[in-house]
Protein backbone atom coordinates (compact mmCIF):
# COMPACT_ATOMS: atom_id res chain seq x y z
CA UNK A 1 0.00 0.00 0.00
CA UNK A 2 1.50 3.31 -1.06
CA UNK A 3 1.19 6.33 1.20
CA UNK A 4 2.40 9.40 -0.64
CA UNK A 5 3.28 12.75 0.91
CA UNK A 6 3.50 15.71 -1.49
CA UNK A 7 5.36 18.82 -0.37
CA UNK A 8 3.28 21.82 -1.44
CA UNK A 9 4.93 24.72 -3.25
CA UNK A 10 3.41 28.10 -2.45
CA UNK A 11 4.27 31.77 -1.87
CA UNK A 12 2.55 32.10 1.49
CA UNK A 13 -0.88 32.82 0.04
CA UNK A 14 -1.26 30.96 -3.25
CA UNK A 15 -0.66 27.29 -3.96
CA UNK A 16 1.60 26.80 -6.99
CA UNK A 17 -0.02 24.71 -9.79
CA UNK A 18 3.00 22.38 -9.61
CA UNK A 19 1.48 20.82 -6.47
CA UNK A 20 -1.64 19.74 -8.33
CA UNK A 21 0.54 18.18 -11.05
CA UNK A 22 2.38 16.17 -8.39
CA UNK A 23 -1.00 14.86 -7.24
CA UNK A 24 -1.75 13.69 -10.79
CA UNK A 25 1.60 11.90 -10.87
CA UNK A 26 1.01 10.31 -7.46
CA UNK A 27 -2.47 9.18 -8.50
CA UNK A 28 -0.87 7.06 -11.26
CA UNK A 29 0.21 4.72 -8.47
CA UNK A 30 -2.77 2.42 -8.07
CA UNK A 31 -4.54 2.62 -4.73
CA UNK A 32 -2.25 5.30 -3.33
CA UNK A 33 -3.25 7.43 -0.34
CA UNK A 34 -2.17 10.98 -1.16
CA UNK A 35 -1.56 13.66 1.46
CA UNK A 36 -0.22 17.18 0.92
CA UNK A 37 2.14 18.91 3.36
CA UNK A 38 2.03 22.71 3.65
CA UNK A 39 5.01 24.26 5.44
CA UNK A 40 4.22 27.90 6.17
CA UNK A 41 3.99 30.60 8.82
CA UNK A 42 0.20 30.42 8.63
CA UNK A 43 -0.75 27.80 6.06
CA UNK A 44 -4.55 27.93 6.36
CA UNK A 45 -5.23 29.71 3.06
CA UNK A 46 -2.82 27.53 1.09
CA UNK A 47 -4.15 24.38 2.79
CA UNK A 48 -7.71 25.30 1.78
CA UNK A 49 -6.58 25.41 -1.88
CA UNK A 50 -4.75 22.08 -1.57
CA UNK A 51 -7.82 20.49 0.05
CA UNK A 52 -9.80 21.20 -3.13
CA UNK A 53 -7.49 19.13 -5.34
CA UNK A 54 -9.30 15.97 -6.32
CA UNK A 55 -7.54 12.85 -5.02
CA UNK A 56 -6.02 14.42 -1.92
CA UNK A 57 -6.91 12.55 1.28
CA UNK A 58 -5.53 14.90 3.88
CA UNK A 59 -3.70 18.22 4.02
CA UNK A 60 -1.12 18.54 6.77
CA UNK A 61 -0.19 22.05 7.87
CA UNK A 62 3.05 22.69 9.74
CA UNK A 63 3.02 26.31 10.89
CA UNK A 64 6.32 27.78 11.99
CA UNK A 65 7.68 31.32 11.90
CA UNK A 66 10.89 29.88 10.38
CA UNK A 67 8.91 28.88 7.26
CA UNK A 68 8.45 32.47 6.08
CA UNK A 69 10.72 31.82 3.09
CA UNK A 70 11.30 28.45 1.40
CA UNK A 71 14.85 27.80 2.62
CA UNK A 72 15.75 24.18 1.91
CA UNK A 73 17.97 23.80 4.99
CA UNK A 74 15.03 24.89 7.17
CA UNK A 75 12.26 22.96 5.41
CA UNK A 76 14.14 19.68 4.85
CA UNK A 77 14.37 18.54 8.51
CA UNK A 78 10.62 19.17 8.92
CA UNK A 79 9.74 17.22 5.77
CA UNK A 80 12.05 14.36 6.80
CA UNK A 81 10.43 14.20 10.24
CA UNK A 82 6.85 14.43 8.98
CA UNK A 83 7.44 11.82 6.26
CA UNK A 84 7.54 9.03 8.86
CA UNK A 85 5.06 6.33 7.85
CA UNK A 86 4.97 7.42 4.20
CA UNK A 87 6.27 5.16 1.43
CA UNK A 88 6.77 8.06 -1.02
CA UNK A 89 7.69 11.74 -0.65
CA UNK A 90 7.18 13.84 -3.80
CA UNK A 91 7.97 17.44 -4.64
CA UNK A 92 7.77 19.33 -7.93
CA UNK A 93 10.78 19.51 -10.23
CA UNK A 94 10.71 23.31 -10.04
CA UNK A 95 13.55 25.31 -8.52
CA UNK A 96 11.71 24.94 -5.18
CA UNK A 97 11.60 21.14 -5.32
CA UNK A 98 15.05 20.72 -6.88
CA UNK A 99 16.52 22.69 -3.98
CA UNK A 100 14.60 20.89 -1.23
CA UNK A 101 14.02 17.26 -2.14
CA UNK A 102 17.63 15.98 -2.43
CA UNK A 103 18.27 17.48 1.00
CA UNK A 104 15.25 15.54 2.32
CA UNK A 105 16.47 12.33 0.67
CA UNK A 106 19.91 12.64 2.24
CA UNK A 107 18.40 13.21 5.69
CA UNK A 108 16.36 10.03 5.16
CA UNK A 109 19.48 8.23 3.92
CA UNK A 110 17.99 7.29 0.55
CA UNK A 111 18.60 8.16 -3.09
CA UNK A 112 16.28 10.42 -5.05
CA UNK A 113 14.51 9.95 -8.36
CA UNK A 114 14.79 13.25 -10.27
CA UNK A 115 12.18 14.45 -12.79
CA UNK A 116 9.64 11.61 -12.89
CA UNK A 117 8.04 11.81 -16.36
CA UNK A 118 6.01 8.58 -16.16
CA UNK A 119 4.96 6.07 -13.51
CA UNK A 120 5.37 2.39 -14.42
CA UNK A 121 4.58 1.03 -10.96
CA UNK A 122 4.78 1.96 -7.27
CA UNK A 123 8.58 1.79 -7.39
CA UNK A 124 9.30 2.06 -11.12
CA UNK A 125 9.60 5.39 -12.87
CA UNK A 126 10.73 6.91 -16.15
CA UNK A 127 12.98 9.97 -16.12
CA UNK A 128 14.95 11.90 -18.75
CA UNK A 129 18.76 11.78 -18.88
CA UNK A 130 21.28 13.40 -21.26
CA UNK A 131 19.09 16.49 -21.70
CA UNK A 132 16.16 14.31 -22.68
CA UNK A 133 18.07 12.42 -25.37
CA UNK A 134 17.44 9.19 -23.49
CA UNK A 135 14.74 8.00 -21.13
CA UNK A 136 15.81 5.96 -18.13
CA UNK A 137 13.49 3.51 -16.39
CA UNK A 138 14.58 3.00 -12.78
CA UNK A 139 13.34 0.76 -10.01
CA UNK A 140 13.68 1.85 -6.39
CA UNK A 141 14.10 -1.03 -3.90
CA UNK A 142 10.72 -1.94 -2.41
CA UNK A 143 11.94 -1.34 1.15
CA UNK A 144 13.26 2.20 0.55
CA UNK A 145 11.26 5.38 0.88
CA UNK A 146 10.81 6.82 -2.61
CA UNK A 147 11.91 10.45 -2.56
CA UNK A 148 11.33 12.05 -5.94
CA UNK A 149 10.79 15.22 -7.91
CA UNK A 150 7.99 15.25 -10.47
CA UNK A 151 8.62 16.75 -13.91
CA UNK A 152 5.62 19.06 -13.93
CA UNK A 153 5.51 19.42 -17.73
CA UNK A 154 4.71 15.69 -17.96
CA UNK A 155 1.49 15.83 -15.94
CA UNK A 156 -1.75 17.79 -16.22
CA UNK A 157 -3.12 19.57 -13.16
CA UNK A 158 -5.54 17.38 -11.16
CA UNK A 159 -9.23 18.24 -11.21
CA UNK A 160 -10.72 20.49 -8.53
CA UNK A 161 -13.69 19.49 -6.43
CA UNK A 162 -12.09 17.53 -3.62
CA UNK A 163 -12.75 18.21 0.01
CA UNK A 164 -9.79 16.91 1.96
CA UNK A 165 -9.52 17.27 5.72
CA UNK A 166 -6.97 19.80 6.98
CA UNK A 167 -4.91 18.81 9.98
CA UNK A 168 -2.33 20.83 11.92
CA UNK A 169 0.92 19.02 12.63
CA UNK A 170 4.16 19.93 14.39
CA UNK A 171 7.60 18.83 13.33
CA UNK A 172 9.58 18.87 16.53
CA UNK A 173 13.07 19.23 15.09
CA UNK A 174 15.85 21.78 15.58
CA UNK A 175 16.05 24.18 12.64
CA UNK A 176 19.29 25.87 11.51
CA UNK A 177 19.79 29.63 11.31
CA UNK A 178 22.90 29.44 9.12
CA UNK A 179 20.99 30.31 5.94
CA UNK A 180 19.12 33.62 5.76
CA UNK A 181 16.80 35.02 3.11
CA UNK A 182 17.79 38.49 1.88
CA UNK A 183 15.61 39.33 -1.11
CA UNK A 184 13.86 38.10 -4.23
CA UNK A 185 13.43 39.97 -7.47
CA UNK A 186 11.41 38.90 -10.44
CA UNK A 187 9.42 40.25 -13.29
CA UNK A 188 5.81 40.92 -12.41
CA UNK A 189 4.81 41.42 -16.01
CA UNK A 190 1.10 40.73 -15.73
CA UNK A 191 1.55 38.21 -18.55
CA UNK A 192 0.63 34.52 -18.21
CA UNK A 193 3.11 32.40 -16.25
CA UNK A 194 5.61 30.71 -18.55
CA UNK A 195 5.37 27.31 -16.87
CA UNK A 196 1.58 27.04 -16.91
CA UNK A 197 0.55 29.09 -19.97
CA UNK A 198 -1.31 27.31 -22.77
CA UNK A 199 0.46 29.48 -25.36
CA UNK A 200 4.08 30.56 -25.35
CA UNK A 201 5.91 32.86 -27.77
CA UNK A 202 9.69 32.72 -27.44
CA UNK A 203 12.53 34.61 -29.04
CA UNK A 204 16.20 33.93 -29.62
CA UNK A 205 19.38 35.80 -30.28
CA UNK A 206 18.17 36.75 -33.76
CA UNK A 207 16.00 39.46 -32.17
CA UNK A 208 19.28 41.35 -31.87
CA UNK A 209 18.58 43.49 -28.80
CA UNK A 210 16.28 44.08 -25.86
CA UNK A 211 14.54 46.55 -28.12
CA UNK A 212 14.12 43.96 -30.85
CA UNK A 213 12.63 41.59 -28.30
CA UNK A 214 9.69 43.98 -27.95
CA UNK A 215 8.33 42.34 -31.13
CA UNK A 216 8.01 39.10 -29.14
CA UNK A 217 6.23 40.79 -26.23
CA UNK A 218 3.88 42.51 -28.63
CA UNK A 219 2.92 39.28 -30.44
CA UNK A 220 2.57 37.44 -27.13
CA UNK A 221 0.24 40.12 -25.77
CA UNK A 222 -1.81 39.96 -28.96
CA UNK A 223 -2.19 36.18 -28.47
CA UNK A 224 -2.57 36.19 -24.67
CA UNK A 225 0.62 34.14 -24.52
CA UNK A 226 3.49 33.90 -22.08
CA UNK A 227 6.93 35.04 -23.20
CA UNK A 228 9.99 32.79 -23.24
CA UNK A 229 13.54 33.00 -24.51
CA UNK A 230 16.48 30.88 -25.55
CA UNK A 231 19.60 30.80 -23.42
CA UNK A 232 21.42 32.88 -26.04
CA UNK A 233 18.84 35.67 -25.73
CA UNK A 234 19.10 35.62 -21.93
CA UNK A 235 22.91 35.54 -21.99
CA UNK A 236 22.91 38.48 -24.41
CA UNK A 237 20.86 40.40 -21.84
CA UNK A 238 17.72 40.90 -23.97
CA UNK A 239 15.47 39.47 -21.22
CA UNK A 240 15.87 38.28 -17.60
CA UNK A 241 16.83 34.72 -16.66
CA UNK A 242 13.36 33.69 -15.49
CA UNK A 243 12.23 33.62 -19.13
CA UNK A 244 14.79 30.99 -20.17
CA UNK A 245 13.43 27.75 -21.62
CA UNK A 246 15.55 24.61 -21.81
CA UNK A 247 17.65 22.08 -19.94
CA UNK A 248 18.82 24.61 -17.39
CA UNK A 249 15.81 26.90 -17.62
CA UNK A 250 12.14 26.10 -17.60
CA UNK A 251 10.57 22.95 -19.02
CA UNK A 252 7.24 23.83 -20.57
CA UNK A 253 4.30 21.96 -22.11
CA UNK A 254 1.93 24.50 -23.70
CA UNK A 255 -0.73 23.76 -26.33
CA UNK A 256 1.09 26.11 -28.71
CA UNK A 257 4.75 27.06 -28.74
CA UNK A 258 6.07 29.58 -31.24
CA UNK A 259 9.86 29.74 -31.51
CA UNK A 260 11.10 32.87 -33.26
CA UNK A 261 14.72 33.24 -34.26
CA UNK A 262 15.66 30.25 -32.12
CA UNK A 263 17.99 27.77 -33.82
CA UNK A 264 17.01 24.84 -31.59
CA UNK A 265 20.07 23.63 -29.66
CA UNK A 266 19.57 20.25 -27.94
CA UNK A 267 19.47 22.04 -24.59
CA UNK A 268 16.59 24.24 -25.78
CA UNK A 269 14.64 21.35 -27.32
CA UNK A 270 14.68 19.59 -23.94
CA UNK A 271 12.51 22.37 -22.60
CA UNK A 272 9.82 22.28 -25.32
CA UNK A 273 9.48 18.59 -26.25
CA UNK A 274 6.10 18.30 -24.56
CA UNK A 275 4.51 21.24 -26.36
CA UNK A 276 1.43 20.05 -28.28
CA UNK A 277 2.17 22.14 -31.39
CA UNK A 278 5.55 23.69 -32.16
CA UNK A 279 5.79 26.52 -34.68
CA UNK A 280 9.23 27.64 -35.81
CA UNK A 281 10.03 30.88 -37.61
CA UNK A 282 13.66 31.25 -38.63
CA UNK A 283 15.71 32.85 -41.38
CA UNK A 284 17.91 29.75 -41.65
CA UNK A 285 16.02 26.91 -43.31
CA UNK A 286 18.64 24.46 -42.03
CA UNK A 287 18.11 25.37 -38.35
CA UNK A 288 17.59 22.23 -36.22
CA UNK A 289 14.40 23.72 -34.74
CA UNK A 290 12.62 22.78 -38.01
CA UNK A 291 13.24 19.07 -37.33
CA UNK A 292 10.95 19.27 -34.31
CA UNK A 293 8.49 21.85 -35.61
CA UNK A 294 4.92 20.92 -36.55
CA UNK A 295 4.71 24.06 -38.65
CA UNK A 296 7.78 25.80 -40.03
CA UNK A 297 8.21 29.12 -41.78
CA UNK A 298 11.50 30.28 -43.25
CA UNK A 299 11.65 34.05 -43.23
CA UNK A 300 13.05 37.22 -41.75
CA UNK A 301 11.41 37.66 -38.36
CA UNK A 302 11.47 41.46 -38.67
CA UNK A 303 9.05 41.26 -41.60
CA UNK A 304 7.20 38.10 -40.51
CA UNK A 305 6.33 39.25 -36.98
CA UNK A 306 4.53 42.51 -37.78
CA UNK A 307 2.70 40.72 -40.60
CA UNK A 308 1.70 37.86 -38.30
CA UNK A 309 0.45 40.24 -35.65
CA UNK A 310 -1.56 42.13 -38.25
CA UNK A 311 -3.17 38.97 -39.67
CA UNK A 312 -4.00 37.65 -36.20
CA UNK A 313 -5.81 40.84 -35.28
CA UNK A 314 -7.62 41.04 -38.58
Amino acid sequence: MSRILIVAEHDGTRLNPSTSKCVTCAAKIAGADIDVLVLAVDGAAVAAQAAKISGVGKVLVANNAANVEPIAAVLAPQVAKLSAGYSHVFGPSTTFGKDLMPRVAALLGVGQVSDIMAVDGPHTFKRPIYAGNAVLTVEVPADATVVATVRVASFEAAAEGGGAAVENVTADVPLPSHTRFVSRSGATSGRPDLQTASRVVAGGRALGSADGFKLIFSLADRMGAAVGASRAAVDAGYVPNDLQIGQTGKIIAPELYIAIGISGAIQHMTGIKDARTIVAINKDGEAPIFEAADIGLVGDLFTVLPELEKQLSG
Binding site: V135, V138, L256
Partner: protein
Amino acid sequence: MRRIMVGVKRVVDYNVRVRVKSDNTGVMTDGVKMSINPFDEIALEEALRIKEKGLADEVVAVGIGPGDAQQQLRTALAMGADRAILVQTDAVVPPLSVAKIFRQLIDKEQPFLVLLGKQAIDDDNGQAPQMLAALWDRPQAVSCSKVEITDGKATVTREVDAGLEVLELDLPAVMSVDLRLNEPRYVKLPDIMKAKKKPLDTMSLADFGVPETAPFKVVRVDPPPQRSKGVMVKDVAELVDALKKKGLV
Protein backbone atom coordinates in the same frame (compact mmCIF):
# COMPACT_ATOMS: atom_id res chain seq x y z
CA MET B 1 44.90 27.27 4.92
CA ARG B 2 41.75 28.73 3.39
CA ARG B 3 40.70 26.00 1.02
CA ILE B 4 38.00 25.57 -1.63
CA MET B 5 37.00 22.12 -2.81
CA VAL B 6 35.58 21.78 -6.33
CA GLY B 7 33.90 18.78 -7.95
CA VAL B 8 35.08 17.82 -11.43
CA LYS B 9 33.05 15.13 -13.18
CA ARG B 10 34.04 13.47 -16.45
CA VAL B 11 31.02 13.41 -18.74
CA VAL B 12 30.17 12.97 -22.42
CA ASP B 13 30.93 16.34 -24.07
CA TYR B 14 27.87 18.56 -24.31
CA ASN B 15 28.18 18.80 -28.11
CA VAL B 16 27.88 15.04 -28.58
CA ARG B 17 24.46 13.83 -29.64
CA VAL B 18 24.14 10.70 -27.49
CA ARG B 19 22.55 7.55 -28.86
CA VAL B 20 20.85 4.82 -26.91
CA LYS B 21 22.42 1.34 -27.21
CA SER B 22 20.38 -1.12 -29.23
CA ASP B 23 20.11 -3.49 -26.23
CA ASN B 24 18.59 -0.65 -24.14
CA THR B 25 21.14 -0.95 -21.34
CA GLY B 26 22.47 2.60 -21.61
CA VAL B 27 23.87 5.12 -24.05
CA MET B 28 26.85 4.65 -26.35
CA THR B 29 29.98 6.16 -24.81
CA ASP B 30 32.71 4.22 -26.67
CA GLY B 31 34.99 6.55 -28.59
CA VAL B 32 32.87 9.55 -27.66
CA LYS B 33 34.53 12.84 -26.69
CA MET B 34 34.64 13.29 -22.91
CA SER B 35 34.94 16.62 -21.08
CA ILE B 36 34.59 18.28 -17.70
CA ASN B 37 30.92 18.69 -16.87
CA PRO B 38 30.30 22.31 -18.04
CA PHE B 39 28.74 23.33 -14.71
CA ASP B 40 31.81 21.98 -12.87
CA GLU B 41 34.04 24.07 -15.09
CA ILE B 42 32.08 27.14 -13.98
CA ALA B 43 32.44 26.03 -10.33
CA LEU B 44 36.19 25.72 -10.79
CA GLU B 45 36.43 29.10 -12.50
CA GLU B 46 34.59 30.70 -9.57
CA ALA B 47 36.93 29.04 -7.07
CA LEU B 48 39.94 30.36 -9.01
CA ARG B 49 38.50 33.88 -9.08
CA ILE B 50 37.89 33.77 -5.32
CA LYS B 51 41.49 32.68 -4.84
CA GLU B 52 42.76 35.39 -7.21
CA LYS B 53 40.92 37.98 -5.11
CA GLY B 54 43.00 36.80 -2.16
CA LEU B 55 40.05 35.23 -0.37
CA ALA B 56 41.35 31.65 -0.59
CA ASP B 57 44.77 30.00 -0.51
CA GLU B 58 44.19 26.71 -2.26
CA VAL B 59 41.79 25.15 -4.76
CA VAL B 60 41.47 21.37 -4.69
CA ALA B 61 39.72 19.62 -7.58
CA VAL B 62 38.04 16.31 -6.74
CA GLY B 63 36.92 13.76 -9.30
CA ILE B 64 35.15 10.45 -8.83
CA GLY B 65 35.38 8.13 -11.81
CA PRO B 66 37.54 5.84 -13.95
CA GLY B 67 41.31 6.19 -14.37
CA ASP B 68 40.71 8.25 -17.50
CA ALA B 69 39.06 10.91 -15.35
CA GLN B 70 42.67 12.00 -14.69
CA GLN B 71 42.46 13.80 -18.05
CA GLN B 72 39.70 16.08 -16.77
CA LEU B 73 41.55 16.64 -13.48
CA ARG B 74 44.70 17.57 -15.45
CA THR B 75 42.59 20.11 -17.34
CA ALA B 76 41.36 21.43 -13.98
CA LEU B 77 44.99 21.74 -12.85
CA ALA B 78 45.85 23.52 -16.10
CA MET B 79 43.00 25.95 -15.49
CA GLY B 80 44.60 26.76 -12.15
CA ALA B 81 43.59 24.26 -9.45
CA ASP B 82 46.51 23.69 -7.05
CA ARG B 83 46.08 19.95 -6.69
CA ALA B 84 43.65 17.20 -7.53
CA ILE B 85 42.24 14.04 -5.98
CA LEU B 86 40.78 11.20 -8.03
CA VAL B 87 38.58 8.70 -6.22
CA GLN B 88 38.97 5.91 -8.72
CA THR B 89 36.16 3.54 -9.69
CA ASP B 90 34.63 2.14 -12.85
CA ALA B 91 31.21 2.09 -11.21
CA VAL B 92 28.53 4.71 -11.82
CA VAL B 93 28.52 6.35 -8.40
CA PRO B 94 25.06 7.57 -7.33
CA PRO B 95 24.64 11.12 -5.95
CA LEU B 96 24.18 10.04 -2.32
CA SER B 97 27.49 8.15 -2.46
CA VAL B 98 29.15 11.15 -4.13
CA ALA B 99 27.90 13.27 -1.23
CA LYS B 100 29.22 10.73 1.31
CA ILE B 101 32.65 10.70 -0.37
CA PHE B 102 32.84 14.50 -0.37
CA ARG B 103 31.67 14.51 3.25
CA GLN B 104 34.65 12.35 4.24
CA LEU B 105 37.06 14.44 2.16
CA ILE B 106 35.75 17.56 3.92
CA ASP B 107 36.85 16.11 7.27
CA LYS B 108 40.33 15.71 5.86
CA GLU B 109 40.59 18.90 3.81
CA GLN B 110 38.57 21.32 5.98
CA PRO B 111 37.41 23.60 3.13
CA PHE B 112 35.44 26.78 3.89
CA LEU B 113 33.61 26.38 0.60
CA VAL B 114 32.60 23.48 -1.63
CA LEU B 115 31.68 24.52 -5.18
CA LEU B 116 29.88 22.02 -7.40
CA GLY B 117 28.00 22.13 -10.69
CA LYS B 118 24.24 22.34 -10.26
CA GLN B 119 23.87 19.13 -12.27
CA ALA B 120 25.95 16.79 -14.39
CA ILE B 121 24.82 16.80 -18.00
CA ASP B 122 24.87 13.00 -18.27
CA ASP B 123 22.49 11.76 -15.58
CA ASP B 124 20.88 15.21 -14.99
CA ASN B 125 20.22 14.32 -11.34
CA GLY B 126 21.06 17.66 -9.70
CA GLN B 127 21.28 16.12 -6.23
CA ALA B 128 24.84 15.79 -4.92
CA PRO B 129 25.33 19.40 -3.68
CA GLN B 130 22.09 19.44 -1.67
CA MET B 131 22.79 15.95 -0.30
CA LEU B 132 26.29 16.97 0.75
CA ALA B 133 24.97 20.08 2.50
CA ALA B 134 22.46 17.89 4.37
CA LEU B 135 25.07 15.33 5.48
CA TRP B 136 27.42 18.16 6.52
CA ASP B 137 24.57 20.06 8.19
CA ARG B 138 25.71 23.26 6.50
CA PRO B 139 24.05 25.88 4.25
CA GLN B 140 23.37 25.22 0.59
CA ALA B 141 22.86 27.65 -2.27
CA VAL B 142 21.63 25.98 -5.45
CA SER B 143 21.95 27.49 -8.96
CA CYS B 144 24.17 30.42 -8.00
CA SER B 145 24.64 33.21 -10.52
CA LYS B 146 26.63 35.51 -8.21
CA VAL B 147 28.84 34.77 -5.20
CA GLU B 148 30.38 37.27 -2.78
CA ILE B 149 32.56 36.18 0.13
CA THR B 150 33.10 38.43 3.16
CA ASP B 151 34.21 37.68 6.75
CA GLY B 152 33.04 34.13 7.18
CA LYS B 153 29.84 34.77 5.25
CA ALA B 154 28.71 34.51 1.66
CA THR B 155 26.04 36.48 -0.15
CA VAL B 156 24.78 34.53 -3.11
CA THR B 157 22.28 35.20 -5.86
CA ARG B 158 20.38 32.14 -7.02
CA GLU B 159 18.41 31.63 -10.21
CA VAL B 160 14.88 30.58 -9.24
CA ASP B 161 11.66 30.20 -11.24
CA ALA B 162 10.43 33.58 -10.00
CA GLY B 163 13.63 35.37 -10.97
CA LEU B 164 16.57 35.92 -8.65
CA GLU B 165 16.85 35.17 -4.93
CA VAL B 166 19.57 36.44 -2.61
CA LEU B 167 20.64 34.43 0.43
CA GLU B 168 23.19 35.06 3.13
CA LEU B 169 25.06 31.95 4.26
CA ASP B 170 27.40 31.30 7.15
CA LEU B 171 30.54 29.55 5.95
CA PRO B 172 31.48 26.79 5.48
CA ALA B 173 28.82 26.08 2.89
CA VAL B 174 28.03 24.18 -0.30
CA MET B 175 27.18 26.04 -3.49
CA SER B 176 25.98 24.65 -6.78
CA VAL B 177 26.61 26.90 -9.73
CA ASP B 178 24.53 27.92 -12.73
CA LEU B 179 25.58 28.96 -16.24
CA ARG B 180 25.58 32.70 -15.80
CA LEU B 181 27.93 32.76 -12.80
CA ASN B 182 30.98 33.29 -15.02
CA GLU B 183 32.68 32.34 -18.25
CA PRO B 184 35.45 29.78 -17.66
CA ARG B 185 38.92 30.71 -18.89
CA TYR B 186 40.68 29.00 -21.76
CA VAL B 187 43.60 26.78 -20.91
CA LYS B 188 46.93 27.94 -22.40
CA LEU B 189 49.67 25.58 -23.52
CA PRO B 190 52.25 26.58 -20.85
CA ASP B 191 49.58 25.93 -18.21
CA ILE B 192 49.10 22.41 -19.56
CA MET B 193 52.84 21.81 -19.19
CA LYS B 194 52.83 23.24 -15.65
CA ALA B 195 49.79 21.11 -14.72
CA LYS B 196 51.78 17.93 -15.37
CA LYS B 197 53.90 18.73 -12.33
CA LYS B 198 51.01 19.50 -9.99
CA PRO B 199 50.00 16.79 -7.48
CA LEU B 200 47.20 14.43 -8.48
CA ASP B 201 46.48 11.87 -5.76
CA THR B 202 44.55 8.75 -6.53
CA MET B 203 42.40 7.08 -3.91
CA SER B 204 40.25 4.00 -4.20
CA LEU B 205 36.48 4.06 -3.79
CA ALA B 206 36.96 1.20 -1.32
CA ASP B 207 38.71 3.68 1.02
CA PHE B 208 35.39 5.39 1.61
CA GLY B 209 33.16 2.46 2.50
CA VAL B 210 30.24 3.79 0.46
CA PRO B 211 27.95 1.59 -1.62
CA GLU B 212 29.47 1.21 -5.05
CA THR B 213 26.28 0.28 -6.81
CA ALA B 214 23.42 2.66 -7.47
CA PRO B 215 20.52 2.35 -5.05
CA PHE B 216 18.25 2.10 -8.06
CA LYS B 217 18.11 -0.68 -10.60
CA VAL B 218 18.35 0.44 -14.22
CA VAL B 219 15.44 -1.36 -15.86
CA ARG B 220 16.10 -0.01 -19.33
CA VAL B 221 17.12 3.02 -21.36
CA ASP B 222 15.08 4.12 -24.37
CA PRO B 223 15.39 6.82 -26.99
CA PRO B 224 12.93 9.66 -26.44
CA PRO B 225 9.62 9.53 -28.30
CA GLN B 226 9.98 11.13 -31.73
CA ARG B 227 7.71 13.91 -32.89
CA SER B 228 5.99 13.32 -36.22
CA LYS B 229 7.31 15.25 -39.20
CA GLY B 230 5.81 18.70 -39.54
CA VAL B 231 4.90 20.84 -42.52
CA MET B 232 6.61 23.89 -43.99
CA VAL B 233 4.46 26.87 -44.89
CA LYS B 234 5.58 29.51 -47.40
CA ASP B 235 4.21 32.69 -45.87
CA VAL B 236 2.40 34.26 -42.95
CA ALA B 237 -1.05 33.75 -44.51
CA GLU B 238 -0.43 29.99 -44.77
CA LEU B 239 0.86 29.94 -41.22
CA VAL B 240 -2.25 31.65 -39.88
CA ASP B 241 -4.42 29.22 -41.90
CA ALA B 242 -2.57 26.23 -40.47
CA LEU B 243 -2.98 27.56 -36.93
CA LYS B 244 -6.67 28.20 -37.53
CA LYS B 245 -7.18 24.66 -38.84
CA LYS B 246 -5.69 23.33 -35.62
CA GLY B 247 -7.96 25.63 -33.64
CA LEU B 248 -4.98 27.34 -32.09
CA VAL B 249 -5.86 30.95 -32.98
